[in-house]
Symmetry: C2
Subunit: 301 residues, 2 copies
C-alpha cells in the first residue's frame, strides 16, 4: 500500500477525484476528508469518496502519512497554520494550487521547520464544475501534474508525491516555481481572463441586441471556462498577478497586429497570421491526442 492514511483537506472536484483515483488503483488505505462544512463531507462519505471526516484540519492531519491540501488558493495559508503544530513525523504534505509562488512563500513562512516535507504540486486538469459530486476517478488520466520542489524539499517526499499522482493516472513533471507560474499564466490564466472579458462584452451587446440566441458552439467552447468558480479564479489572478499581466500585454500586442492588418486591408498579413495559428493549433491537437483520450476534454486551472 502506497499510502496508509490519506488526509484530503478540501473534498471538492480535485480532492474528491484524487481520492477516487487512488481507490481505483488500490493505492491508499483509509481516506480522511476535511472541510468546514459537514454537508459536503457527508455527501463525500455517501459517494464512497472518503471513509471518515473531521472538520478540524489538526485532527484530520494528525495520523496521516500523506496530506493533500485541495482548498481554494486563498485558503491554503490558513490550512498550513491549522496543521503546523499537529504534524506527525512521517507525514508528507502536498497541495494542488494553480499558482505555486504564493503557496511556496506561505509554506516557508508558516510551516518553517516542516518545509522539507512539503511538495508544491499542481494537477493540470479540471472541469468547469466544482464540488465533490462532480469528482470522478478518471480526471487525471493522461494529464500532467507539475511538482515544484524547492531547495529544501526532501527527495523522499517528492518521490512519494510523484508515485501518488502516477497511481492516480497522471504524468508527473518537475519544474521551477517561477517557470510553472509563467507557463500557467500563458496556457490557462490568460485564456480565462480573455473568456471572462468576452462574456462581459457580449453581455453588454446582448442588452441591446439579443445576440446570445445566435451564438453557437464556437462561442460556447470559448467561454465554457467562464463558468468556472469565480472564487477560485479570483484567488488565481491575484496569486499570479504579475505573470498574468505580462501575458495580457503580450496578447494585446498580437491582437493589435491582427487588428491593424484587418484595418489596413492587409490581406497577406491576415492570411499569414491565420495560417500560422492554424498550423500551431493543429500541431498542438496532434500531440495532445497522443496521450489524452479524445472524450476526456477537460479544463486546466
Amino acid at each position: 500500500m502506497l499510502i496508509h492514511r490519506l488526509a484530503i483537506i478540501g473534498v471538492g472536484l480535485i480532492g474528491g477525484s484524487l481520492a477516487r483515483a487512488l481507490k481505483r488503483a488500490s493505492a491508499c488505505g483509509r481516506v480522511i476528508g476535511c472541510a468546514r462544512s459537514v454537508g459536503g463531507l457527508e455527501k463525500a462519505v455517501n459517494l464512497g469518496v472518503i471513509d471518515e471526516f473531521h472538520t478540524e484540519v489538526a485532527v484530520a492531519a494528525a495520523g496521516a502519512d500523506m496530506i493533500v491540501i485541495a482548498v481554494p488558493l486563498g485558503a491554503t495559508a490558513a490550512v498550513f497554520e491549522q496543521m503546523r503544530d499537529h504534524l506527525n513525523d512521517k507525514a508528507v504534505i502536498t497541495d494542488v494550487g494553480s499558482v505555486k509562488g504564493t503557496v511556496v512563500q506561505a509554506a516557508r513562512r508558516i510551516l518553517g521547520p516542516h518545509m522539507f516535507r512539503f511538495v508544491p504540486g499542481h494537477p493540470v486538469a479540471g472541469t468547469e464544475k466544482s464540488g465533490v459530486e462532480a469528482s470522478f476517478a478518471e480526471l487525471f488520466d493522461g494529464h500532467r501534474v507539475i511538482l515544484t520542489p524547492v531547495a529544501d524539499t526532501e527527495a523522499r517526499a517528492v518521490q512519494q508525491v510523484t508515485k501518488m499522482w502516477e497511481q492516480a493516472g497522471a504524468l508527473v513533471e518537475v519544474m521551477e516555481v517561477a517557470q510553472h507560474d509563467k507557463v500557467l499564466a500563458a496556457t490557462s490564466h490568460l485564456p480565462h481572463v480573455l473568456a471572462y472579458s468576452l462574456v462581459q462584452t457580449l453581455a453588454r451587446v446582448e442588452e441591446s441586441e439579443g445576440v446570445f440566441r445566435f451564438a453557437a458552439g464556437g462561442f460556447a467552447d470559448f467561454t465554457r471556462i467562464a463558468s468556472s468558480s469565480p472564487e477560485m479564479w479570483h484567488d488565481i489572478v491575484f496569486a499570479n498577478q504579475k505573470a498574468i499581466l505580462t501575458m495580457v500585454e503580450r496578447f494585446n500586442q498580437e491582437l493589435a497586429i491582427l487588428v491593424q492588418a484587418i484595418d489596413a486591408n492587409d490581406s497577406h498579413k491576415v492570411m499569414e497570421v491565420f495560417n500560422q495559428a492554424k498550423a500551431v493549433r493543429d500541431e498542438f491537437s496532434a500531440n495532445r491526442l497522443k496521450h489524452i483520450p479524445v472524450a476526456n476534454e477537460l479544463i486546466s486551472h
Copy 2:
C-alpha cells in the same frame, strides 16, 4: 417533393451537409454538385452526397429550381457572374455566407433583374473541419439559420428557402442585413479573432518556454476554432471589417477594466466581473440546452 433539382455550388462541409440533410428528409429530388475541382466532386458522388456534378456553374444552375451557393465568401461574386445569364424562370437562389452585407451588395450589382429571387442566408453551424468528407446530415439540427431578405426579395423565394432549411432540421429566423453582421461580429467573428491572437501569443511563448505540453482542455476548447479554414476567415474579416473592429474595441474596453482591477488589487471588482460573467454564461448554457442536443457541440462561422 419540395425541391426537384437542387444545385449546390461548392460541395464542402456546409453544402454537403445540406444535401445530406435534405436527402434524409426526402425533401429533394436530384442533387447537382458544382465545384472547380473534380476530385472533391467525385468524392461527393461516392459518398452519396450528390447525384451528378458539373464544373461549370452555368451548366449546374441551368435546370435547377433551387441553387445554393456554398463557396467561400470571397468567391461568391464570381459565382453570381457565372450564373447570371443562365438562370431559368423558376430558380430560387440562396447562399450560406457568414457575412451578408457584402454578399447583398454583390448580388444587387451582378444579379440585377434577378435580385428578387435571391435570398441571402446564413446557417449558424459548422465545425472546424472542412471538405465534403466532413459533412453530415445532422449538422443543422436545432441550429439557427438567419435569412436577410431585402426590400426587393420576393416573398415566395423567402418561403421556399425557409422550408428548405426547416426540412434540413434548422430553426429559421429573419433579420436585417446590418443587424446580422453586427450580431455575428459579436458572437462568432470576435471570438475567432481572439482565438487566433491567443494561439499566436502562445506560439511565441512556446519558442522560449515549451508551454504547449502543459495546456489542457481550457486552452484546447478556447482555440479549437483557430483550426478553422484560414481562407474562410480571411474572407470573413474583410467582409465584416467594420463591425469586427468595433467589437474588438468593445472587447478591449472590457479587458482593460478587468486588467486594471487585477493590477490595482481590486478584489471586489474582480469578483464582480467573474460573477457576472459566470451568471451570463450559465444562463446561455441553460437556454442553449433547451434546443440543441448536448452531443452536438458545433462551431458557428
